[in-house]
Amino acid sequence: MDKRLPDLATAVARIEDGARLMIGGFGSAGIPFGLIDALLDHGAKGLTVISNNAGAQETGIAKLLKEGRVAKVICSYPRSPGSIWFERRYEAGEIELEVVPQGTLAERIRAAGAGIGGFLTPTAYGTLLAEGKETRVIDGRGYVMELPLHADVALLRADRADKWGNLTFHGTARNFNPVMASAAKYAVAEVRELSDVPLDPERVVTPGIFVQGVVEYGVRP
């Protein structure tokens, strides 16, 4: 078994127009900048992007928005300082937006990866973000029914990988990366370093069974 890929272009080659993409990262941590750049070169458009943020300045997801590749964003917090490309596309009515509370976003992604058909969360009960959704009250507490969120491809950023696809992360770069790995049909990770020997089984954060490809991209941004 060898999941190592020769380059970033190979890693994104299978992404089709209209694909549902998960992209790891929170703020500057754990964003697969290399894979996103490769995706821009690759040219896929009409993408649905599932990510916590919608990019800032001219980097990462903001580049995809600037180049008009994104049809829909599903995220918790599109409005970061400097998220000018998101704001322009949104104001122009050029992209669809689904805002999901951050914990519900993570849990919907986990549900997809874990084969859960839906779950009841107290988050957003009684608010605008629960409008139109099924609710119920259990022991006096209100809950909203939320459904799993699947993707065709997940683009991830990790620290180290071995050829079985096992991943470790650095600092606060885990964020959405491990859970997104589990919810996509094809999860690919750019990593700071490919290890020639298996990673320590006690230290693996994302087991390789969730990862279909790994590619070295040495830069830690």
């Binding site: 918790s76 704001e87 914990g103 986990r110 107290p122 009960y125 606060t172 885990r174």
Partner: protein, 211 residues
């Protein structure tokens, strides 16, 4: 009217956080609370993006792009820290494991409702982040904000007019003018910023302040 500075307000909030607490600080003003922990207390800070045990800002030149907090500021680790992923981080928040959250707000209502994620301005795309998860999961919610808007209109209301973040969940509000508990009857005065009178503060408050 005597008004606390942001630093004084942060120090006032910090005084009410007991030793050994697990605390989440919201983005904006609440992040400053960690600079004012009283001597002899160990407070453990959680950040939604996957760390418990947030330490101080790193010295210049030692910043790491992959070591940040929820406000996207550079951080270090405190002793006893741990990293984890997002589903686990929000399990901590939603599951009631964090003791206290300190949040900013646009509005707080006398029934404990809080509005802190969206205004009625349609120009801005909505952005909620982790606010709704925090308010349902953390048993003690402290709100820290200016007593009024810049134009002098009140933020402590009989009923919120902005979209709600959470329903009936605020425990205590710290403003530059006063500290108020959310009691069954509504806002109850805990203390006034020295020099202020209840009448003065009431005049800047939409809801009734019980004393």
């Amino acid at each position: 009217m005597n008004s606390l500075t942001d630093a004084q307000l942060a120090a006032r909030v910090a005084r009410d956080i007991p030793d050994g607490s697990y605390v989440n600080l919201g983005i904006g003003k609440p992040t400053h609370v960690s600079s004012y922990v009283p001597e002899g207390r160990e407070i453990i800070y959680h950040s939604e993006n996957g760390i418990i045990g947030v330490g101080p800002t790193p010295p210049e030149g030692e910043e790491d792009f992959e070591m940040i907090d929820a406000s996207k500021r550079y951080i270090t680790t405190a002793p006893g820290a741990a990293f984890f992923e997002h589903a686990d981080s929000f399990a901590m928040m939603r599951g009631g494991h964090i003791d206290i959250a300190v949040l900013g707000a646009y509005q707080v209502a006398e029934n404990g409702d809080i509005a802190n994620w969206a205004t009625l301005d349609e120009k801005f795309p909505p952005a909620v982040g982790g606010a709704m998860d925090l308010v349902v999961g953390v048993p003690t919610i402290f709100v820290m904000m200016r007593h009024t808007n810049r134009d002098g209109t009140p933020k402590l209301l009989r009923k919120c007019t902005y979209p709600l973040t959470g329903l009936a969940i605020v425990s205590r509000v710290y403003t530059d003018l006063a500290v108020l508990d959310l009691a069954p009857e509504g806002f109850r005065l805990v203390e006034l910023t020295p020099g202020n009178t209840l009448e003065e503060v009431q005049a800047l408050t939409d809801a009734k302040i019980h004393s």
